[in-house]
Symmetry: C2
Amino acid sequence: MEEKKGITKRSEDYNEWYQDIVLKAQLADYSPVKGCMVILPNGYRIWEKMQSALDKMFKETGHKNAYFPIFIPLSFLSKEAAHVEGFAKECAVVTHHRLGAVEGGGIGPTPDSLLEEPLIVRPTSETIMYSMYSKWIKSYRDLPLLLNQWANVVRWEMRTRLFLRTTEFLWQEGHTAHATHEDSYKEVMRILDIYARFSEEWMAVPVFKGVKSDSEKFAGALQTTCIEAMMQDGKALQAGTSHDLGQNFAKAFNVRFQNEKGDWEYCWQTSWGVSTRLIGSLIMSHSDDKGLIVPPKLAPIHFVIVPIYRSDEQKNEVFSRCNEILSNLKNCGFEVEIDKRENLSPGFKFNDWEMKGVPVRIEIGPKDIEKGICQFAPRISLDGVEREKVPKIEIPLSSIAIRGREILDEVQNALYKRCLNFRDTNTFEIDSYEEFKQRIEGGGFFWAYYCGDSKCEEKLKEETKATLRLIPFEEEECSKKECFICKGKAKAKGLWARAY
Amino acid sequence: MEEKKGITKRSEDYNEWYQDIVLKAQLADYSPVKGCMVILPNGYRIWEKMQSALDKMFKETGHKNAYFPIFIPLSFLSKEAAHVEGFAKECAVVTHHRLGAVEGGGIGPTPDSLLEEPLIVRPTSETIMYSMYSKWIKSYRDLPLLLNQWANVVRWEMRTRLFLRTTEFLWQEGHTAHATHEDSYKEVMRILDIYARFSEEWMAVPVFKGVKSDSEKFAGALQTTCIEAMMQDGKALQAGTSHDLGQNFAKAFNVRFQNEKGDWEYCWQTSWGVSTRLIGSLIMSHSDDKGLIVPPKLAPIHFVIVPIYRSDEQKNEVFSRCNEILSNLKNCGFEVEIDKRENLSPGFKFNDWEMKGVPVRIEIGPKDIEKGICQFAPRISLDGVEREKVPKIEIPLSSIAIRGREILDEVQNALYKRCLNFRDTNTFEIDSYEEFKQRIEGGGFFWAYYCGDSKCEEKLKEETKATLRLIPFEEEECSKKECFICKGKAKAKGLWARAY
């Protein structure tokens, strides 16, 4: 596959750096279809591991997977007013169902195959799913209904960026129905906790949890809760949302149940999702100027073994040790590769695997064999400090599997610590809007009180390109505080930042 | 979810029986989108297990997963002449990318969002994938390229049937590129073997392997190989195809590599796929008039435990034993449920779980507890014979996990044996076309020699609704045989049947 030399430095051009990593580590590529990307094996393997971890958490909390049609009749999308307004501008519309010779020559959609009602390629599946829920749910005994689907969705985008913003993306969308608002709200929070846990424990990315303001919430929801992570340029990335839909869709789609007394009530619903966008978050949170860094728990391969030798005799001996290490580690469930490429120097190989983000490189040569050891070179320093040279660790050949496990755990923890430390260092309390306008240029998260009026959010967005990322769940006493934008009476504390 | 009483008998109306099982065992449901179905959790879980088994086999043979865009520009689809001709009549065409208020009132695709070039929702991905391959492949060192994707595809269907023929379906599509035809042909056969092995070892469905005639091959392929299974009404179901694409697409998309001498050559390519159609095959192969039967290796749950009691005291004791059995089996990796529903008789529960196809039901009541046993009721008779009453087996509580494993294996084997026996009994050698025309009404597979002319195939199809399912790989001496249709010189032996 194609290669471009070198990776732009973060400090020189953050966006270029990000794109270089995606392309050079072969995570994704641009496709000839406007706004759509190809997810390459290295990127897709990360997605598979994300899916597997999340799917397990969903199933452990009683959710089941199902699959609903990709097409949504236009009239369905239109049933919930706020919903269609939110998505109308980004809908791919199917209007014909056949190709043939067309007037003026060539091939095209044939006029006689025009659909009576256009179909929308799902941007999200509330409407098509709840039209089925309304058929299935009859009684309180059918509740809660806890479904999830893994699927592709399409939201037409004019300005796209690999993983972060593409016309088609992959995601999971959970859709549940409950008898009471108390139950549905518990579900909203249960899922938000799963998302936060996944981000912190698997992705090694710390997040803030909270509620979106009305102007940022999901089209059709009562309330949107979210997790927000900080990227290395100090910008925010929304890494998962869990929506309290109230009874809005239940009323639009007549999703009702008979309660124990025999009366009909509308269901209370939730929806929630994370997408391949998380891969973008992963890349931007951890990687450095050498290339990609992937936390061990989501890494396509855990170890790469690089044999070091000069003579053919040495080569045979070293390769045979490499094979032993490989099968030893594989037997313990690790994913491992040996880099047996000829005519490439060890140094070139080291750089290549660092660029691809493998958590631990294992080097072994004749001198190591004499000492009965090999060298572990973790992708990052185990104390979490970013260094040009990461110290290597001598590991006795007899304890590779045990030490391997330990060092992967240490890498995972160091990544989290480093990321948390970066976020803490770049999160500030602020009460002057003038100061904010200056400091936001340098990135970072800013906690500041505000009045709750969307006009202040708009003003700030226009003047600074930043947005209100979330309002934390813990209510703070703010009767004596004032809005840092309009100086009116404060209603809540908010987290402000520029965002992807 | 909705219920319809009773299942139609196979002997009364096979199609109705099939539909009853899909709906009543809650595998799938009709959706409001014409031709599209909803895959329900019970059906989707079978698909997940199929995916997991196949994915492992693909990865063990060096394939990697990736993901390509769902949209294909019209001009791409048109590049391979036979290919576009084969799919033109079933294409969903995206023509607009925005909704808004339209003339005459209401909401619709806005004229100013008309796409310059229509996009096709992928019916298969050769064209979009190979346009990327042509960019990635430069040298013989890049070969073989072995990619697979799990995805949804759309082929517009007028007459649909749940799982068997739907406008949207889920599948995997493998797409590989090789340096020589020898290599690519080995790949075609390697995959066909995987498909056959999966069908026989996991689905417990025996298959014939062979080659399609030119009139039945994939649009754009040199040759299509396939596996064919026999359903219980004696009709054939194509359960997987592996295509030798030759250099047809490589030439259309300029997929070339430099060989070791530095000369440019076109790649040799393959593509291959199986889909959610397999779930239809599974249902129609094994199920009976009581309902669904799923082979243990693909069953959503392996065991259901039905507690039997009269008094509250008994209930406590029985439930506590049920819980012990549950955790015992779960610890051994089995998926298990206890049916604790109140106000339903054991008999009702037995029927319900038989209808849902759980491989083994475990019954336990006070008398069993006294004897230190429970009763295993396998979904089918372990000798493979279809019986109204399946004998129960007394299992000591101390050996539930071991015996459980054994009996699941026996059920799996009995299903395969039963299915193989049915196919053997209904596969015939024939040389009279007149006789064929009569006997095909009763279903079954017929081996007969033919001249290799597609006109004979057409004639037979028109007169009998049957088709040439495959030509076996083992060439048979047929110089002295004649075509059973036209009486001309025979060229090969073929397998003839009606098909889904």
